[in-house]
């Protein structure tokens, strides 16, 4: 062994894989970007895998196929928590390290979980809206029932409003299911029933597109607050058409995810004072790492464009 070589270096061919569902969408790209960066800095190889569909069964199939390639570790976004228990446990038993990100499978044997805090995000969105409205007025929410992190953001948003801003009144809720057209129609209708509607919150950016357009066309002053960003939302934020967005810090998610994964794959690097030897578990066990979030407003929106970011970094995103 080379005495100069850092412990934080991979063997040749040591592979780390990121696995997601709906793999074609933008959200994952900044995560993978930093996952990759950390890997390169440590001489490791990476792969981006997943299924283009929104289907847990298909995602599990890809997860198991990744496993057939015997990678050193997998960073997975489990679409649903419990369905992943068995696959993750099987991976760990085979000696493949697993960490989860952005969604967890708490009952599995994964080593670590990196995420932004959906509850804090929802609350932060509520604070931003309530501040802008002087703590008084009517608001509505658009939901995507069934998707856990979205549901959490919405619940936290409403809870924060009820708790801290008694004069903010929830007047309507509808399901937009990430569909801009449904969001557009819903906001138009809500505006009919509640002409004084002052704000609407939705937990993802696709709906925001439609909601903001409806707000513009009704010519009413409806503040559209959302979470996550894309180029269009950023443009609208800059133009004042969307009030703001809460964006999780995806880069840190990817970077910390890789570090955790590497550590889990090289447990000999650490030796914590606990019972890991007795219980035979991986010493690299972190229940929860918060990667933080940012409130995106007209002032800072420019820093969140993916294309510009890619250009600045000179990489090709998930395609390498």
């Amino acid at each position: 062994q080379d005495g100069n070589k850092s412990a934080f270096q991979c063997e040749p061919g040591e592979l780390y894989v990121m696995n997601v569902m709906v793999s074609g969408v933008e959200y994952w790209f900044p995560v993978y970007e930093m996952f990759k960066q950390a890997a390169q800095q440590m001489g490791c190889e990476t792969a981006y895998t997943g299924t283009p569909e929104y289907d847990v069964n298909k995602q599990i199939a890809t997860f198991e196929q990744v496993l057939a390639r015997q990678p050193a570790g997998i960073m997975v976004h489990p679409m649903n928590s419990d369905p992943f228990i068995a696959p993750i446990d099987r991976a760990v038993e085979q000696g493949v390290a697993v960490v989860t990100f952005a969604a967890d499978s708490p009952n599995s044997k994964r080593s670590a979980y990196i995420t932004s805090n959906n509850d804090r995000e929802g609350a932060a969105a509520a604070d931003a809206i309530a501040d802008a409205m002087g703590g008084k007025g009517e608001y509505a929410v658009l939901e995507n029932p069934g998707q856990d992190n979205h549901d959490r953001r919405v619940s936290a948003f409403i809870a924060r409003m009820e708790e801290k801003y008694p004069d903010m009144k929830l007047v309507a809720r509808a399901a937009s299911n990430q569909d801009p057209t449904k969001a557009y129609n819903a906001v138009l209708t809500m505006h009919q029933a509640h002409p004084d509607l002052g704000a609407v919150f939705m937990p993802e950016a696709n709906s925001a597109l439609g909601a903001a357009q409806a707000a513009i066309e009704t010519k009413a002053d409806i503040k559209v607050m959302t979470a996550d960003v894309n180029a269009k939302i950023l443009d609208m934020i800059k133009a004042g058409e969307v009030f703001g967005s809460i964006n999780p810090n995806q880069g840190i998610q990817g970077y910390m995810g890789f570090i955790s994964l590497f550590l889990a794959a090289h447990p000999d690097l650490i030796d914590p004072m606990n019972d890991y030897k007795r219980s035979g578990t991986n010493p690299m066990m972190v229940p929860y790492i918060d990667n933080g979030y940012a409130v995106v407003t007209a002032e800072n929106a420019d820093d969140f464009y993916w294309e510009a970011y890619l250009k600045r970094r000179g990489t090709k995103g998930i395609e390498e």
């Binding site: 074609g24 969408v25 933008e26 790209f29 283009p52 939901e143 029932p145 309507a172 809720r173 509808a174 399901a175 990430q178 569909d179 801009p180 057209t181 557009y184 129609n185 819903a186 138009l188 209708t189 809500m190 505006h191 009919q192 029933a193 950016a205 696709n206 597109l209 439609g210 357009q213 513009i216 066309e217 894309n230 180029a231 269009k232 939302i233 950023l234 443009d235 609208m236 133009a239 993916w306 294309e307 995103g317």
Partner: protein, 349 residues
């Protein structure tokens, strides 16, 4: 999908026929007015819901609300027109949602690459028409079923959208106002989208009712072999309908692009089902040979009315789907039974 037809006929054969009143469904009657039995039934159902709603919600009977409801289905309505024509010829198109999305994406991408938005849109619409044309070719040349061909193209078109956008929504913030007008502008208080939609509806409704070309669409859909034996080039007719459906999806995509000023690769997922539902509620037959544009538009209006009403009434989110499904079921049943009654009294059935 033979069953509906068989059932329909079965019910018919059970009773018998006084011959005199046969004029009902004929050519003559078609000329008499725009309201045929089926459409009148739908209008009735819609009116009932409207009246109930106007009691339930004070906001319902406002121009603003009607404008909002019209806006909410008028772009999808353009797709419904194309789908209805395709259903009449005996086809079906599951790819419309993906194709609408593809139109947005192609138009958006070309615009971002520096083309003027009008040419970009034209190319996008033509590309969608070409997809429809390809589907028609697969169906008529190879002899596959529209269902499976359009399913394949649904996946392909979605993949193309992803490929072109690399998965990220394209911001078309810089579209010129003259172009955005298509999707967002008003003419004398009436949104241009609605005017465009009604224009398309009236145009195709008249064509379907009165033009020779579109009569052949009915013939082909009703019995392809009979049409063929009458010298009608049924393959060509099917290709025309499928191309038209693609073109109209493309137009809808471009209008969406102008409305939202964006092109998102996830747009339109699941649209095919609501579009088909609208056409079928409006009287289009999944076996081909029957249907009208006007009916289909009423079907779309009904679906949209129900969705808006549920929101206006503050029905809890978890109940909305259940109620929507039940109303869909009740509407088609009522309509079907109403028409059966009418048939059994007026024609023989």
């Amino acid at each position: 999908m033979t069953s509906a037809k068989a059932l329909k006929t079965e019910t018919k054969s059970e009773t018998n026929k006084p011959e005199a009143t046969a004029v009902q469904n004929g050519v003559h009657n078609r000329m008499l007015g725009i309201f045929k039995a089926r459409e009148a039934g739908l209008v009735a159902i819609i009116l009932i819901i409207c009246i109930a709603m106007s009691f339930a919600s004070p906001y319902f009977l406002t121009w603003q609300n009607f404008r909002a409801m019209l806006l909410s289905f008028s772009i999808e309505g353009i797709v419904v027109v194309g789908m209805t024509i395709l259903l009449i010829v005996g086809g079906i198109d599951l790819s419309v949602g993906s194709v609408v999305c593809l139109a947005m994406v192609i138009g958006g991408k070309l615009f971002l690459m520096g083309l003027d938005p009008w040419s970009a849109s034209l190319i996008a619409v033509l590309a969608c028409g070409f997809i429809g044309y390809l589907m028609g070719q697969c169906v008529t040349r190879i002899g596959l079923h529209f269902f499976i061909v359009s399913l394949a193209f649904m996946v392909i078109a979605r993949g193309l959208s992803l490929l072109i956008t690399k998965g990220t929504p394209q911001s078309l913030f810089s579209l010129p106002p003259s172009f955005k007008f298509i999707g967002q502008g008003d003419i004398a208080g009436m949104p241009f989208v609605i005017i465009l939609f009604f224009g398309i509806v009236v145009f195709f409704d008249l064509l379907l009712r009165h033009s020779t070309l579109f009569r052949k669409v009915y013939y082909t859909g009703s019995n392809e072999k009979a049409a063929l034996f009458s010298g009608i080039k049924t393959k060509r007719i099917k290709i025309v309908c499928s191309t038209l459906c693609g073109l109209l999806s493309g137009v809808a995509g471009v209008v969406y692009m102008a409305r939202f000023g964006a092109a998102t690769p996830q747009f339109g997922i699941g649209m095919e089902l609501s579009v088909i539902a609208a056409a079928v509620i409006g009287g289009a037959s999944l076996n081909g040979g029957a249907g009208t544009i006007f009916g289909a538009v009423l079907g779309a209006a009904l679906l949209s009315l129900v969705t808006s009403s549920l929101i206006l009434l503050d029905v809890p989110v978890y109940w909305q789907d259940i109620i929507r499904g039940l109303i869909l079921l009740v509407a088609v049943s009522a309509d079907h039974l109403l028409n059966k009654r009418k048939r059994s009294t007026s024609t023989k059935s």
